[in-house]
Symmetry: C3
Subunit: 168 residues, 3 copies
């Protein structure tokens, strides 16, 4: 119990705590629908964001139900959603857990995975599990804090509602 | 990755870990129905506890479905529930995540938010999401550890079962 | 806020972080069905693993729906499942949270509890809460990292699907 951690293990723990804080902020922004257009600021300028099924992920097929390459494409998507969202009043809640740091890649880059549950509540209905799955990330550490170089949202849910244009 | 954290960031991380431990203990107590009357000990003597919908919270309306001002009122409520609870056998499980420290207010006080899922299982039924939402807290650090000065339980669930007299 | 933690509290926090990492790895392995036969490596050679209902646990009755004593029995079970699992395609996702260190027992052993939600998605269906409950653990700290000396999976779900032969 008094054993010293290896320096790699200590670095991974430090990064895990930073990623947990990053994901808590990321989730809070997405759950606050008015802030949606700020979503791209969690990414590097040339980042990749894709939402794909576990089946496609396991099979090495990149095709997803949402895809954005670069902050500009993300911003366009967020603006488009912000302009239409008032037509389907609902709440979302992201619960992110099980964060693990996978691989340290050079001085400022690493891979990480976290599990998430996305709950959704429609007007006058019960809260339901809308989607569950995993964030599969490449993250860079910058002077401004952590930024996503790549986020693959891998969902297990096989039947999903049509309106899945929202970022997750 | 070797960057030094600012001292504010380090303090917030330290507090986040303390709040996570606080919430784990708080949850375990509520999920153990026999311990319910100990619930007020997580609060300061003059604390405010309120359970309100996301709609009311967003609109700045304080009205909630449960309200207690001060440990004494909380204690009366807990005793009343403890005396009646045997009539509806069920289990609850609190899963708390996404804890973030928002603002440091002076030397011993800060605000914090966490997301929660409250699962409930009725006799002979499947486990269901009973409620999901956010704890919105003002917390003070004392010699006895953290205490809630204010806990707003903001639930997103729009249709909830009648018996919501239990603390959350 | 600048208060020093007691050394016991600091040790418990350190262990909590280690258990969180342990559970994230444990969960990822179980959610990757191809890795199932590696499951026993999270346990000591003579560990006890049991899955039992909250009712039985509260009543002090040890009877469970799954029981394994020692890594060998766990391995046999895992192999048996691995050989049959292809007949019911589905995904699982473990979300573990609320980890607390209960008691330090000597230099290298401690008890710990965590809450979990096990989500399951069957082909062409929505993601559902399959089981929710608590890990009640005795953990030993070894040169190879943490190992389970005992894991009781205490589920609250009162109606569960038949196929609950999978480790949780």
């Amino acid at each position: 119990m008094g054993r010293l951690m290896s320096s790699e293990k200590a670095r991974k723990r430090e990064l895990r705590h930073a990623v947990e804080e990053f994901n808590a902020t990321y989730s809070a922004l997405l759950d606050n629908q008015e802030a949606l257009t700020d979503w791209p600021r969690f990414f590097t300028e040339d980042a990749l964001y894709v939402v794909l099924s576990q089946e496609n992920y396991d099979a090495g097929m990149p095709a997803g139900i949402m895809y954005a390459e670069g902050q500009k494409m993300m911003h366009d998507r967020a603006v488009a959603i912000a302009e239409t969202q008032m037509f389907s009043p609902h709440h979302t809640l992201h619960v992110v857990s099980n964060t693990r740091i996978c691989e340290l890649q050079g001085a400022n880059s690493f891979t990480s995975q976290s599990n998430f549950i996305l709950l959704r509540t429609l007007l006058e209905e019960k809260t339901k599990v809308h989607m569950a799955g995993m964030y599969d990330d490449v993250i860079v550490s910058t002077d401004q804090g952590l930024l996503l170089q790549q986020r693959k949202v891998i969902y297990q849910t096989m039947e999903i509602d049509r309106d899945l244009v929202y970022p997750i």
